[in-house]
Every structure is written in structure tokens, then in C-alpha cells.
């Protein structure tokens, strides 16, 4: 049962990273504009993520200390205040985008506008977090997230040219519209490798009382959870490339993405897309709100835990409540959800190095991880990710101006 719980935590973490509104938007845009050419960006993000998530779980299981807490203990408050503040701001925007995703999904099914559904969607999310436990959120979202397998079915049924798909795994230079190409590449990385995933996974591992015996399962969970998420994101690119690219359709509205399953799944395409988007965005919004509460509580030393009654962890409960309120207000301003999503994905890429840099110290500190320090391969991946995310952070803003949609 504990093993199933571990895998559910991995799948929910992956849903927050791979199957939410950001991945849907960036993958659909990538497929429509550049066919299979940006699959490599997804693969790159997924490989980095599998390693980093495994490290996060290992750190939590061995040290019993959260990532956010360890960063403050090891680097001090003046350092930790920078990534924590940046994360909180970006997470607020992300929660807004996810609430927009759920509201858009309901709009697809009912026809009523997004603004009508933003408040009810946020109330459902809040009730889910307030009334239930981490396990219930994990099992329900991970279970319902299996609807996303519809994308795999659609991708297979669309009979993509496998040779072209395989070529997409190798990085290539764009023939035209280079700024938009690179903007989408970093947005895909930003949409997949998100700082809140590490805080959520780390805190979930502590809540579920992982120990050194959990390390093998942690490896499996990282691989299965993130692998599942990456596979679905890959099929979104394939479906979008097969449906939109031949028609020269550039994605600039969520309404366009909704048609991605229609050619292969017929009349079930739009309802299925709406259900997948709604479930995944709901799970992601819960994950991001909780991750922010975990992150803040751990950095400031508050008592925390999703499995305890909200009144016992009042500051923790207040934090995720505020996150959902701010996200809802963002949606009620009438901001375009797709524009908000794309902006947030790029900003996520900007703050990413601040989260990844501490890994190189924490995962080699025997005080925390005992004999389970990183090996040469793990350290190489961390250094590579730091370099990659730093480059991405530097070029994001110029590319946002030149190539953002």
C-alpha cells in the first residue's frame, strides 16, 4: 500500500509538472508551429526532472528534512529569501493559470464563460485541500489523471511519421521564426521543470514518512511518475503537430487547443479534452498551492502538514487559502488565460536556477544524506541543469519580448 502511495505521489507531482495547463499550452503551440522539432526540449526537461526529483526524494527520505528548510539551514536566510520570494510570486501566477484551465474546461462542457467558473473552481480546490488528506488528493488526481491516456490513443490513431518523430528527439535549428522557436523551447523546459514540484515531492515524502528503505521505490517513482507525464506531453506535441501544423494554424487561443483530439476521437474529442484539462489543472492548482504553503512554512519553521486539521496548522492553511484567492482574483481581472500561462512558464524558467543551484551542495552533504550522496552521474546532471537553466534564465526575457505570443 505504501508503494502505491509513493507512485501516486510521483504521478500527482508529474501531473503538476507535465499535464497541467502550461504543458498543454506549450506542447500544443510547439506541435502546431514547429511540428516535431521541439520534442528534444521536452526530453531534455524530462531527463533533468527525473534525476532532480529522485534527488529530492532521497534527500527527504534520508534527512527527514524538507528542501526549503535545508536550503535555509545550509545557505542562510539572506540567500533563501530570494528563491522563496520568486517562487511565491510565480506560483501565484501559476495558480491563476491553473484556475483558468479548470474554468476553461468547464466552459467547454457548459458554454458559460471562464469568469463564471473561476470562483466555483477555486472553492472546489480549496475544499479538496481543506477537508481531505494528502493521500486522498494523490489517489483521486493520479487516478482521474489516467484519462490523459486518451492523448496516447489519439497520437497512435493519428499515424504520425515515426521517422520524423524520432528526428525530433535530436536538437535542431529552426528554419524560420527562430525567436518563437527558442521561446517555446525554454517555455517547454519551464513548464516541465518547475520549482514547486521539488517542494511538493520533498514534503510529500516527509508526510508519508519515507525512510532509507524507500530509496529504491523513490527511484522507480521518479522514473514512472515523470516518465508517464513526459509520455503524455509528447503525445500532445504529436497530436498537435498532426492536427494543426498541416493547416498552418498558430495556437493563440485555448479554444483552438480543444480541437486537438477531435480528428482522431471524433465527438468524444472535446469532452475528453475538457475532462483531462479540468482534472489535471485541478490537481496542479492543489499541488502548487500546497507546495507554496510547504515551502513558506518550512523556510520560516512553522508547523505544517496536509494530513493534520487546518486549525492545527493555521498558518499553513492560511497560505494555501491566500494562494487560491489571489489566483482567483487574477482570473477575475479578465486576463487571457493562455497569455498568463505562457508568461508564467517563461518566468518559471527565470527562477529555476535559484532552486537547482543548492542541489549541488545539499546532495553532497553527508550531514543530510549520509552515505547516499550523489555519484558522478548525479552531480554531472545537476551541474548540467544549473548551466542549462542559467542560460535559459538569461535569454528568457529577451525571447519573451521577441518571440512570446
Amino acid at each position: 500500500m505504501k508503494n502505491i502511495g509513493q507512485i501516486a505521489l510521483g504521478i500527482l507531482t508529474a501531473i503538476g509538472g507535465f499535464l497541467e495547463v502550461g504543458t498543454m499550452a506549450t506542447s500544443a503551440q510547439a506541435g502546431a508551429s514547429f511540428r516535431f522539432s521541439l520534442i528534444w526540449a521536452l526530453l531534455l526537461g524530462a531527463v533533468c526532472l527525473i534525476f532532480l526529483i529522485e534527488m529530492t526524494g532521497r534527500h527527504a527520505a534520508v534527512s527527514k528534512h524538507s528542501l526549503s528548510g535545508a536550503v535555509r539551514e545550509r545557505f542562510g536566510f539572506p540567500f533563501s529569501v530570494v528563491p522563496r520570494t520568486a517562487d511565491i510570486i510565480v506560483n501565484m501566477l501559476l495558480v491563476g493559470a491553473e484556475i483558468g484551465g479548470v474554468a476553461f474546461a468547464i466552459k467547454l462542457l457548459t458554454g458559460y464563460p471562464i469568469m463564471v467558473w473561476a470562483i466555483p473552481a477555486a472553492i472546489v480546490m480549496w475544499l479538496l485541500i481543506w477537508l481531505s488528506t494528502l493521500n486522498i488528493i494523490e489517489y483521486s488526481t493520479a487516478g482521474l489523471g489516467m484519462f490523459a491516456i486518451a492523448f496516447i490513443v489519439a497520437a497512435v490513431k493519428s499515424h504520425p511519421p515515426l521517422h520524423d518523430v524520432a528526428r525530433g528527439f535530436v536538437p535542431s535549428l529552426p528554419r524560420d521564426d527562430a525567436a518563437h522557436y527558442w521561446f517555446l523551447a525554454i517555455s517547454i523546459i519551464g513548464a516541465n521543470v518547475s520549482p514547486y514540484m521539488f517542494h511538493f515531492y520533498s514534503s510529500g515524502a516527509i508526510e508519508e514518512k519515507w525512510d532509507e528503505k524507500s530509496l529504491t521505490m523513490n527511484r522507480v517513482t521518479s522514473l514512472i511518475g515523470m516518465g508517464f507525464g513526459a509520455a503524455i506531453a509528447l503525445t500532445v506535441i504529436i497530436c498537435s503537430a498532426m492536427v494543426f501544423h498541416p493547416l498552418h494554424i498558430q495556437i493563440d487561443k485555448y479554444e483552438q487547443i480543444a480541437f486537438v483530439l477531435v480528428p482522431t476521437l471524433g465527438k468524444w474529442g472535446i469532452p475528453l479534452f475538457a475532462i483531462i484539462l479540468g482534472i489535471c489543472c485541478l490537481g496542479a492548482a492543489c499541488e502548487i498551492s500546497l507546495a507554496t504553503a510547504y515551502e513558506l512554512a518550512q523556510a520560516l519553521g512553522w508547523n505544517w502538514g496536509e494530513d493534520k486539521k487546518p486549525k492545527q496548522e493555521a498558518r499553513f492553511a492560511l497560505t494555501y487559502t491566500i494562494m487560491l484567492i489571489v489566483g482567483t482574483i487574477l482570473m477575475l481581472t479578465g486576463i487571457d488565460p493562455l497569455k498568463l500561462t505562457m508568461l508564467t512558464m517563461a518566468l518559471t524558467a527565470v527562477v529555476l536556477p535559484l532552486t537547482v543551484i543548492p542541489f549541488i551542495v545539499l546532495m553532497n552533504d553527508e550531514h543530510y544524506v549520509g552515505k547516499h550522496t550523489n555519484g558522478p552521474i548525479g552531480n554531472t546532471v545537476v551541474v548540467f541543469t544549473i548551466v542549462l537553466t542559467s542560460i535559459v534564465a538569461i535569454v528568457t526575457i529577451p525571447l519573451e519580448i521577441m518571440g512570446g505570443s
Binding site: H65, G69, R72, E73, G76, F77, P78, V81, L300, G301, W302, N303, W304, K309, P310, K311, Q312, A314, R315, A317, L318
Partner: protein
């Protein structure tokens, strides 16, 4: 003991092992002809804010006064009350009835339900 490594920013646990904040600052007592000694540890947003800049500290104090929940922006725990210095720092203080968790207590009183 290395003060910055082993004490500063570590998790504070009260006498019931409840997470009650972090060691935000350390107070040293300078003594004539003797090495300095740790007199107290400090907790409070004004303390950590001061470690970033004095302007932040003033802002934290001003906001704290305006909100009026926490009476003392800095809470000092005498070193004699520190019972263990390990991975976490344990103190002989009742967290929920001390300034360490005054916000937590205020919120618990204002949140409906059990």
C-alpha cells in the same frame, strides 16, 4: 559548536517538540578578559529582516505594529532555556503560549471548525 553552522537558521522545537520557528538571530555577550558567550537566541521577522537590510527590518517592525497581533517583533530565548542543539534546536518554552507562535494562536482562534 560553530554558531552559524550549528545554530543559526535551525528549526526550533518547543518543549512538546512542536515546530515553533527558526533561530533567526544569536545574541552574544561580550565579557571583559573572557571570550564572548551566547546569551540568547532570537526569533522574529524583524530579526531575519535585519539580516537582509535595516530598511527591511524597519518595514517589518512597522507592519508588525500596524497588524498588532505580535507585541514583540523580536523574541529572545535565554541560552539557559536551550535544552538540545542537534539537527534541530530544542527549547524549554511552551511555543503556542509564547511570542514564537502568537500568529498561529491568533489564527487558530479565528478559524472556524475543530
Amino acid at each position: 559548536m560553530k554558531l552559524v553552522n550549528d545554530l543559526l537558521d535551525k528549526q526550533l522545537l518547543d518543549r512538546k517538540k512542536v515546530k515553533a520557528g527558526r533561530v533567526d538571530g544569536i545574541i552574544l555577550e561580550l565579557r571583559d578578559d573572557q571570550p564572548p558567550r551566547v546569551a540568547a537566541i532570537e526569533s522574529g521577522f524583524a530579526v531575519v529582516a535585519a539580516r537582509v537590510s535595516e530598511r527591511w527590518a524597519r518595514l517589518a517592525v512597522a507592519i508588525g505594529k500596524r497588524l498588532g497581533v505580535r507585541k514583540t517583533p523580536r523574541y529572545r530565548i535565554p541560552w539557559e532555556k536551550v535544552t538540545d542543539v542537534g539537527f534541530d534546536i530544542e527549547v524549554d518554552v511552551d511555543g503556542i503560549n509564547s511570542p514564537l507562535m502568537v500568529w498561529e494562536k491568533w489564527l487558530r482562534q479565528h478559524i472556524p471548525g475543530k
